[in-house]
Point group: C2
Chain length 418, copies 2
């Protein structure tokens, strides 16, 4: 059954009303609801696992790949992990109410800038049901109403999870509409959601590049782009080459399916002769397929010839593009041309080179003598993250609770007029 624009709009109107009730809540009230949600996930595990089993059976019947089915599957242990996640969010500082700037103006008025919730946060995501709980928890803690749009393959699981979360919210005295599943599982429901500017304050697509591009193209609601990572490791002329091998291998192979893994290795020509054989041997040993330029293929005749597509690719696999560059500035030029703006790493002993790389790259995170894999909310000490923004507006890099807020200016006078 196709969902109507009016159905989606109605859920957004309800979310906006819930957001008005959530905005003034104390941290204590929000934490109590989060802990209640965590308990409810465990208490009602049977019905959650039963709903999930239907999704899993349908996916298997449809011939879905085993890895996808695994991602979809809930277990007691995974539910416990989701409950733990909610408890961890309860333990984080409340971003709402934080005073960012403040002063007394020359005319005696008090002025301060404070964090406030964004309002209604729409999240469009694929596959894993745990995103449903993570996103709901982060939105609630930051005082936002969550409008969740999961994938069709997980709709029974997500419906059951959201039902449990809504009951727990109400039991804690919060509006159930703090968390809603957007009605409908077809693309139409996403289309309707993307047109609700004024009701929905931000849309965060989490998923593949195709989903994100579609949302960016069609949405009138402001969008935060997340997660596409064409990350680079640049080995400078002055690099410690043992360190460079370790960082290249770690950035590429430690986990290939994630956005902060490296997809291109750039090597300064001055160290290419010494470094390339070593890194190519290590890459081969790790099972990596190399797509190289002519200089690389001269050393490694077995490497595939890199094309324009390779420089731009987010492989998310054991593939790596490798190029020799004449200078640091040429490396940066390559990165500015092809990067998705996620994370770039430089391996160097030179302070001047590190400063130049930091100042001229244009990405969310720059790592000096460290793996690209460090760009992550948990590793940055933020606690849970809702995604990694690769755009420049509002939030850039891992998005934790403060990134789910806006600000308001508060001016207090005693009859001040202009």
């Amino acid at each position: 059954m196709q969902v109507s624009a009016e159905d989606v709009r109605t859920s957004a109107v309800r979310a906006k009303r819930a957001a008005a009730a959530l905005a003034p809540l104390s941290r204590a009230a929000k934490d109590a609801a989060l802990l209640g949600m965590a308990d409810a996930l465990l208490a009602r595990a049977d019905e959650l696992l039963a709903a999930n089993a239907e999704d899993v059976a349908a996916a298997q019947a449809a011939g879905t790949a085993a890895a996808m089915v695994d991602r979809l599957t809930l277990t007691e242990a995974r539910l416990a992990g989701m409950a733990d996640g909610l408890r961890q969010v309860a333990g984080l500082e409340d971003p709402v109410g934080e005073v960012l700037r403040g002063r007394v103006l020359p005319n005696g008025m008090e002025l301060r800038q404070v964090r406030v919730p964004l309002g209604v946060v729409g999240i469009i995501y694929e596959a894993r049901p745990n995103v449903t709980v993570d996103a709901a928890g982060l939105c609630l803690k930051s005082g936002n109403a969550a409008l969740l749009r999961g994938s069709a393959s997980a709709v029974r699981s997500n419906t059951a999870l959201v039902g449990v979360l809504r009951d727990a919210a109400e039991a804690a005295g919060l509006p159930a509409d703090a968390v809603q599943l957007v009605p409908g599982v077809d693309h139409e429901s996403v289309k309707h959601l993307m047109r609700l500017r004024g009701l929905v304050d931000v849309l965060i697509p989490r998923g593949g590049a195709g989903l994100i591009r579609a949302v960016v193209e069609e949405s009138t609601v402001p969008v935060i782009e997340t997660g596409v990572g064409n990350c680079h490791v640049y080995v400078d002329a002055t690099a410690d080459l043992d360190m460079a091998v370790a960082i290249a291998i770690n950035s590429k192979t430690q986990r290939v399916s994630v956005c902060n893994s490296a997809e291109t290795l750039l090597v300064h020509a001055d160290v290419a002769d010494e470094f390339l054989p070593r890194v190519l041997a290590a890459l081969t040993e790790a099972g990596v397929t190399v797509h190289g330029d002519d200089a690389v293929r001269a050393v490694a005749p077995g490497a595939l010839a890199a094309t324009e597509d390779d420089w731009a690719a987010e492989y998310l696999s054991l593939d790596l593009a490798v190029r020799v560059v004449p200078s640091l500035d040429a490396a940066v030029e390559h990165i500015r041309a092809y990067s998705s703006g996620h994370t770039e790493a430089i391996v160097t002993r030179s302070l001047a080179a590190s400063r130049r790389f930091i100042a001229t790259c244009d990405s969310a995170a720059i790592m000096v003598n460290a793996s690209t894999r460090f760009t992550d909310g948990e590793r940055f000490g933020m606690g849970a993250e809702i995604g990694i923004s690769t755009q420049k507006l509002h939030a850039r890099g891992p998005m934790g609770l403060p990134e789910l807020t806006s600000t308001t200016w508060v001016g207090i006078g005693d009859g001040h007029v202009v």
Copy 2:
């Protein structure tokens, strides 16, 4: 002659290249260019005034209203004002490089979040040529390349101004493309500009609600909405009524054509009998036309009947919608329903009422016992502003230099891998 998509794209590519050169510049280099630009505006006043005279003559020949012609007109004094504005921007702190957060992670890596330029900032504006210089100055100081799209009526003035600014940039050793006028004066050139996601980092429309709505609807480039102000003054049950009259009159009449002037007055029912006759007399004396609900018209039979359109209107004229509400919460509900999210004022003696109003309104600025007219970058002590954002993402309220930046995470290790 209609401009092609390729022409507009070419200017954006040049802007992006200039942005890469601007990003690592020191404050000293940028300030020197700003001061050179200020000097050049005065040194080349004759050619600027001559170009402007052609715009003014064309506007007059087209029968343009005198107030519009006045806004378009440049004089020696106005050029001096623009030069002063550039000097003031040179005097402001450089936002680029500011460290917003930083720590050493448990693994020994240094991590810090630093302000960086946005990159290429597109500004679409109407009428006044002074915006050309103000916007160019703010963009340059924040390390951004400016792509300026002024109105057709000011094209000769803007072309001449941008020519002078570009020459001064080059004379100071900066790329001339730090400042460009988008080619073309028809709507097509704006359309092309709005599709350059990836080349243009943000679009800031400055102008009427129609322009802003069109940009928001059509742009794939992220947009910051500015300037539409349906601002409210709410007179609480405990208000000092003399103060309330003064704030209502100031908010409405001190300057009617600006976005931070008030358009609706909400009055708590408990004080309506005493307050309404006094404020209506003062409004009438100030030449204000009142659009009231039934309770208001019972006191002021001459008032027009307010409609839904009146509650939503940004009059920008000596008109004011007036409504009696049964409670503070009802006032907030009205504001949440009709406000453009710019500025709301409450007049009250009650601390609890002020706290509730601040916590439940959902606007860029809240004034307690002060005029809505205070929401302004200069009055907030920010120096010049590029506009007042009424959206929640990235920047909210007056946008100064920090609001024209993004951030980058910098991680420094010594061979750290995951």
